[in-house]
């Protein structure tokens, strides 16, 4: 019996030892030693990138109209470059930066990276982007681009934006007509309209409260509308901003479910037809046309005099380990940086061209849906990220503010506590 017990004991200890070893590996994987989703798809494609007549483009677009734009760019470039193939590779938004950085560590990566323009510094600091000031200085059309869409540091140009994206207030014209209100021009009017819509059995507004950079992007106009500014960290103003939108949740205008939505889901909710307003971007134009079975329109976000709206959009860069940077540069100049190419983005996605000449084209000036975004750009547009945030702390600040926004909307923290917590965090980041 003793022997048997000992054997059993040994067996159990061995099995538990194996379990512990498994635990170590799994915990290590879960914690961050391994990249989520691994690099299989992107890495495999990157290996075949460049030098072989292939331009590999990493992007995070999943909406049909955005994917079509990438396909149109590929077709446009391939048409004038015989034997060249453009390979568009989808990388999930949350994994883009880590994949690009990880690939750079292995001295590989895409020829072109299309990424959240605000995060250029994260990629540039990691050595994942090729400086392109030489190409840029020799680019005949460079003077068509305003400084705010050219990103770089230490005399290097690392990314340029082919277009600008920003938020506007989409409205369901049929609901507004039913409840008898005009599209709002102030927060008071917006709140009154949402109250009337809720009373009539509709939802008031959709927006994103996800605890990450998309949440921070969506929070910014509402927080600044109450006087908050990253260059002057006023805790009361931030509290007011959080309290205002938390109040919308408590009054039933906004679903608390918004804390689980990225920017795509709330617009799907809007196009389903039971919501009066959506704080969402110009890039949803194609989705609205395809999915909304009702009359709709856009007005500038009613954020008052102090309110600001980020001028975002994707940045385009040449990967630091592109096998053929010259071909990559040609791709950029004939797609994202080209007048016709920028008009393709207007047509497909409703993006606002960054080129001065393209922005004067009828496709832009005659488009009633784009006009409110252009007005916002001129009156409330703000650099994204805020220039007071040091490049190396941008990602940190976005996460901290995104979490605070989500915590306030979801009721995890009171507006006062959320504001106090996040101010304490970002004071150290801004300096």
């Amino acid at each position: 019996m003793r022997n048997s017990a000992q054997n059993r004991s040994t067996r159990h200890v061995a099995v538990i030892g194996a379990a512990a070893a498994t635990a170590l590996v799994l915990a290590a994987c879960g914690g961050g030693d391994t990249e989520p989703g691994a690099t299989a798809d992107g890495g495999a494609t990157a290996d075949g990138a460049g030098g072989d007549g292939t331009v590999t483009v990493w992007h995070y677009f999943s909406a049909d109209n955005q994917v079509k734009l990438m396909d149109d760019y590929a077709a446009k470039f391939e048409e004038t470059h015989e034997g060249v193939t453009v390979e568009n590779v989808y990388v999930p938004y949350d994994q883009m930066n880590s994949k690009v950085i990880s690939a750079a560590g292995q001295e590989t990566g895409p020829d072109i990276v299309v990424f959240n323009g605000a995060e250029w510094s994260t990629l540039a600091l990691a050595g994942a982007l090729a400086p392109m000031e030489e190409q840029w200085d020799g680019f005949a059309d460079a003077d068509q681009f305003p400084d705010s869409v050219i990103h770089g540091m230490d005399d290097h140009v690392y990314a340029v934006q082919g277009y600008v994206n920003l938020l506007g207030l989409w409205y369901n014209a049929e609901i507004l007509e039913e409840i008898g209100v005009e599209p709002p021009t102030s927060i008071e009017e917006l709140e009154a309209a949402m109250a009337a819509a809720t009373e009539a059995g509709y939802q008031g507004i959709t927006l994103s409260g996800l605890p990450q950079s998309q949440g921070e992007w969506q929070a910014y106009p509402w927080l600044t509308s109450q006087g908050f500014d990253y260059s002057d960290l006023d805790e009361q103003a931030l509290t007011d901003g959080f309290a205002m939108v938390r109040g919308w949740v408590e009054d039933g205008y906004l679903s608390q479910e918004a804390t689980t939505w990225d920017q795509t889901v709330p617009f799907q909710e809007f196009t389903a037809g039971d919501v009066a307003f959506a704080a969402n971007g110009n890039w949803q134009m194609g989705t609205a046309e395809a999915d909304a079975g009702f009359e709709y329109g856009v007005v500038p976000l009613p954020v008052g005099e102090t309110g600001k709206v980020y001028l975002g959009g994707e940045g385009q860069s040449i990967g630091a380990f592109s096998d053929d940077p010259d071909l990559a540069w040609e791709y950029l100049t004939e797609t994202y940086f080209d007048t016709d190419g920028q008009l393709l983005a207007v047509e497909n996605v409703g993006s606002i061209p960054s080129r001065l000449d393209a922005s004067q084209e009828p496709a832009v000036t005659d488009n009633a849906l784009l006009e409110p975004f252009a007005t916002t750009l001129a009156e409330n547009g703000a650099n994204y990220p805020d220039p007071v945030v040091p490049p190396e702390n941008v990602a940190d600040l976005q996460t901290a503010m995104g979490q605070a926004w989500s915590a306030a909307l979801g009721g995890q923290r009171s507006p006062e506590d959320a504001a106090a917590d996040v101010i304490a965090q970002i004071q150290g980041l801004i300096g």
Binding site: A5, Q6, R8, S9, H12, V13, V15, I16, G17, A19, A20, A21, T22, A23, L24, V25, L26, A27, A28, C29, G30, G31, G32, D33, P36, D94, Q95, N97, S98, I101, A104, G105, T122, L123, L125, A126, G209, L210, P211, Q212, S213, S255, Q256, E257, T259, T260, E392, A395, D396, T399, Q403, A404, S406, A407, A408, L409, G410, G411, Q412, A418
Partner: protein
């Protein structure tokens, strides 16, 4: 006296054959050892090295400056590591209790071999084998305000307003833990069932003759017979709960706010959202240490129990 001699002869005759067989056994172990060293030991060493270094996006691809325990101090001082540990403990508790109890219940229900039992098991294995990203997305739909569970809850009059499965700070942690448990139940049921199938049918026949009720069968025959399996499975389930990441990533992204930030997700945020790889690695090392302590405690308790 005549018996030992042939026994000794047998032993001596058998010895030359056994020895090479024993040695060759280790050859079979070699690939696994190499694999383990490459993909477990090396990453772990790197993880510990990273946790003691200042590794950010700008230093990741260069030499890592050594900073000692600063990352650990920073994590603890911010309160994030402590909060995440508490959430992880709650999470692990839910996953373990639900996973073990319902796993055993499933095994008892499916104890007998039969067509329907096998079909149901196949379905369970399918659910278990589905990638967590798929599982998580499906559950996110089910838990939504307009999802099946809320529609059903309203239909039966359980609630007038939607149940806040994923967007209330308390419900969210419970809901994601529940989905994690749900995903581990099939595995636990399979392992428990294998143990139950080892019980001789005569034992149940004898119990039936003694007039044992079904509950008494469970309590006095089944539970004691799966006890060794249960202890090992407990460790595995705790570890499974502890490494929870994918369901949280898909369903709540750690929110609302930080309500579902468990240790692995906090590590992910620090390393891949904030790009402070050193801080993220230190959080992961804390997770590894906690699991190690758990494993040692269980190993010791089982060893002690067996000796008694």
């Amino acid at each position: 006296m005549s018996t030992p001699a042939p026994a000794a002869a047998r032993a001596s005759a058998a010895a030359p054959q056994r020895r090479p067989r024993r040695q060759s056994r280790y050859l079979f172990l070699l690939p696994a050892l190499v694999f383990l060293a490459l993909f477990s030991v090396y990453p772990l060493v790197q993880l510990v090295r990273m946790s003691l270094s200042d590794v950010t996006a700008s230093t990741l691809n260069t030499a890592w400056p050594f900073i000692g325990l600063e990352n650990f101090q920073q994590g603890l001082a911010s309160g994030q590591t402590g909060d995440a540990l508490t959430r992880t403990a709650v999470f692990v508790l839910v996953v373990t209790v639900v996973g073990m109890v319902l796993g055993l219940a499933g095994a008892i229900a499916l104890r007998t071999r039969g067509r329907w039992s096998n079909v149901l098991l196949a379905v369970m294995v399918f659910a278990w084998a589905l990638p967590p990203v798929v599982n998580g997305s499906v559950w996110k739909f089910l838990f939504a305000d307009a999802g099946l569970l809320n529609v059903a809850a309203r239909a039966v009059g359980l609630t007038d307003t939607a149940l806040p499965f994923l967007y209330d700070q308390y419900w969210a942690l419970g809901a994601v833990a529940f989905v994690n448990s749900w995903a581990v139940i099939p595995f636990n049921a399979l392992v428990f069932r294998a143990a139950l199938l080892n019980i001789e049918p005569e034992v149940f026949e004898a119990a039936a003759l003694d007039g044992a009720s079904r509950w008494q069968e469970v309590r006095h025959i089944m539970v004691p017979s799966v006890r060794p399996t249960m202890l090992v499975l407990l460790v595995l389930t705790i570890v499974y709960g502890f490494r929870s990441f994918d369901f949280i990533y898909v369903m709540t992204y750690g929110g609302p706010g930080t309500a579902t930030n468990t240790l692995p997700f906090l590590g992910y945020l620090q390393a891949f959202s904030r790009f402070d790889f050193g801080l993220g690695a230190s959080t992961s090392v804390v997770a590894v240490l906690v699991v190690l302590v758990l494993a040692v405690l269980y190993a010791r308790s089982i060893s002690k129990e067996e000796k008694e």
